[in-house]
């Protein structure tokens, strides 16, 4: 098992190396475009252009350029944004990471807990009015676009009903550091967490319900009944336990993508300066070093999330342990 984990870790590093090469090639070896000109930004003076060319090694072979680039991102961390006049890219990314992580982690806890409860309740009472109601609500959650939902949330909690007893606790939009103000951190994030989680609660609740109902058809459920176990125990220990694999797969993909910047819309709506917002702004300004850094960061999280999913698989399913 230790060996399996080690091997998976090695694979992870290899995949990340592959991604870095591809990303590098896309940005710096695309024929017909001068990367130095793009890094330097619009209307750059010839001196700046020359400085960029030298600092990124564009006068030298491709592999040297690659090494220099990786050095700037990972070792020295002095990759500089020219578009934003000397803004250091790596610290900017580092500053946005806690924001995105806070947002996504909190929402993930919320959606995992709630959707597991919904999935179990719906599967246990399948075809009843309660099941139908939960599934209809789930569909509603999936159908509401997050930017719209976020704005509605803001309308309710920040303006219309802000003065009522229900929402007077909601602080103004923005992010507060956990280390400075834990209570403020929590309060500012509650509404974004709920907003981001609603979509996933809908999806995960429905997926889990389907998986539980499917595993309730299995032979081993009949064995469990023949053993004289209670229906609750059969549902939780046998049906739910074997249904979690599909759930974990989905979770790994969504979580990785969200941490990698897919929470952009939520971040923008709630004024949270996370990775998504950073990437979005970089794209707007064609800020090549920043795009490069955020893409590397995002792919790193997707890869890590997938590796974690694989580890969890091994814990969940003993059939995967031997090999």
């Amino acid at each position: 098992m230790f060996y399996a984990i080690l091997r998976r870790f090695g694979q992870m590093l290899f995949v990340m190396f592959g991604i870095s090469v591809i990303v590098f090639l896309i940005f710096f070896a695309t024929p017909g475009a001068d990367p130095a000109a793009r890094i330097a930004g619009r209307n750059a003076s010839p001196e700046v252009l020359e400085a960029v060319r030298h600092s990124f090694g564009f006068d030298r072979p491709l592999y040297v350029q690659y090494v220099k680039m990786m050095e700037k991102i990972f070792v020295t961390g002095d990759l500089t944004s020219f578009v934003n006049r000397g803004w250091k890219v790596v610290p900017a990314v580092m500053d946005s990471i806690p924001v995105t992580l806070s947002l996504v982690f909190g929402a993930a806890i919320l959606w995992v807990v709630v959707s597991i409860i919904i999935g179990i309740v719906a599967a246990a009472t399948r075809d009843s009015w309660l099941d139908k109601l939960l599934m209809a609500l789930g569909l509603l959650g999936i159908s509401m676009p997050v930017y719209w939902l976020g704005e509605v949330m803001n309308l309710i909690t920040q303006s219309r009903y802000h003065d009522s007893w229900a929402f007077s606790w909601v602080p103004p939009l923005g992010y507060k550091n956990f280390s400075d103000d834990p209570k403020g951190w929590f309060l500012t994030l509650v509404i974004p967490w709920i907003t981001l989680a609603i979509l996933y609660i809908g999806i995960y609740g429905r997926v889990l319900r389907a998986a539980i109902i499917e595993s309730l058809q299995e032979d081993f459920i009949r064995t469990a009944r023949a053993k004289g176990l209670s229906e609750t125990r059969i549902l939780l220990r046998h049906a739910l336990r074997t249904s979690l694999i599909a759930f974990v797969t989905l979770f790994g993909l969504d979580f990785g993508a969200l941490v990698g910047g897919s929470a952009l819309l939520t971040e923008v709506v709630f004024g949270l300066h996370g990775i998504g917002k950073l990437t979005y702004d970089a794209l707007q300004n064609l800020d090549l070093p920043m795009i490069m850094a955020t893409v590397m960061y995002a792919s790193m999280f997707v890869v890590i999330a997938n590796a974690v999913v694989d580890f969890v698989y091994i814990l969940l399913d003993p059939r995967l342990r031997t090999s």
Binding site: F220, R222, T223, K227, L229, R233, R237, P318, R319
Partner: protein, 319 residues
């Protein structure tokens, strides 16, 4: 008397109408007796025993008649009461050991789970009992086997684990639904030996469902032959094999190749196929495939007479 089933009827509502899977089945089972239930697929042998176990969970099923376990009526018993019997006094072994165990738990855990569902003992005590049970069903290394997952065991070993699980609470009644069908012949023989031995040591009564006449002739004290949801013949093993009465039983026995003497060029087969339960023929369900059917078979349904050896056939009644 361990089990007494009277006029059991199981039907399912389907989109095409009512399917009567079991139509008036009655049988008795004495202590430490092995009853072989034989029949083709769809003859209702599994459904009738699932009804005994209370394991028909289909909301479209309806169960009528009487199933008495040690004098206690099981039909209509509240789920909680039934659960107390299930796995504890009445245990079941299933057909396919590959899928009968939950893949994510060790077999030791799964057997202990059953023991702890019925007995108030510590986990450690339950595990000790599991080790004894696994030794009893001839696991070469019971202690090690406890921590194995189902996928790490062969089919025969899994079936032994399932049997150990069924025996874990010393059931008075063991229902075995084709426990050897999915296994190799040599493994099969081992399992049959085991069932015999367990009947002797645990004094459990066994209902053994199979479509294999050979297995029945080796194991059963009494035999019940089913066709299209009804019992067509019942009798002791000797009676049934030496003097089969019902044309269906005779046809089944006739389709076993002889071990000695000249082998037939082609094995005799029963013409036609079992009827759909949705469209049973009028009169005797076996009529259209029966070599000796005549007018009464179309107009009336033959009943099963009394006595230890009986067949539901007008020809037999006539003779």
């Amino acid at each position: 008397m361990i089990l007494s089933v009277r006029d059991l009827k199981v039907s399912f509502r389907t989109n095409d109408g009512l399917v009567r899977a079991i139509d008036g089945v009655s049988f008795d089972l004495e202590e430490s007796e092995i009853l072989g239930v034989v029949g083709e697929s769809g003859s209702g042998k599994t459904v009738s025993l699932l009804a005994v176990m209370g394991l028909i969970t289909d909301p479209n099923a309806s169960i009528e008649g009487s199933i008495r376990y040690k004098g206690r009526e099981l039909v209509g018993l509240p789920a909680r009461e039934l659960r107390r019997l299930r796995g504890n006094e009445i245990a079941m072994i299933f057909q396919d050991p590959m899928t009968a165990l939950t893949p994510v738990y060790t077999i030791g855990w799964q057997i202990a789970e059953q023991i702890r569902a019925h007995q108030n003992i510590s986990k450690a005590k339950a595990m000790e009992r599991v080790e004894e049970l696994l030794a009893e069903v001839n696991f070469p290394n019971p202690h090690e086997a406890m921590s194995r997952y189902p996928h790490q065991l062969s089919g025969g070993m899994r079936q032994r684990a399932v049997i150990a699980m069924a025996l874990s609470c010393n059931p008075a009644l063991l229902v075995a639904d084709e426990p050897t069908t999915a296994l190799d012949v040599t493994v099969q023989a081992g399992i049959l030996d085991l069932v015999r031995k367990l009947r002797a040591t645990h004094k459990s009564a066994v209902v053994f469902i199979t479509h294999d006449m050979g297995v029945v002739s080796e194991l059963a004290d009494r035999v019940m032959v089913m066709y299209a949801g009804r019992v067509v013949e019942r009798g002791s093993r000797m009676e049934l094999f030496s003097a089969p009465q019902h044309p269906y039983t005779r046809a089944l026995l006739g389709s076993i190749p002889p071990l000695t003497g000249e082998k037939p060029r082609r094995l005799p087969a029963i013409p036609g196929s079992p009827p759909s339960l949705l469209r049973l023929p009028q009169g005797c369900a076996f009529g259209p495939r029966c070599p000796v059917h005549y007018e009464p078979c179309v107009t009336g349904k033959p009943g099963l007479g009394g006595g230890t050896h009986a067949a539901a056939c007008f020809r037999v009644a006539q003779a």
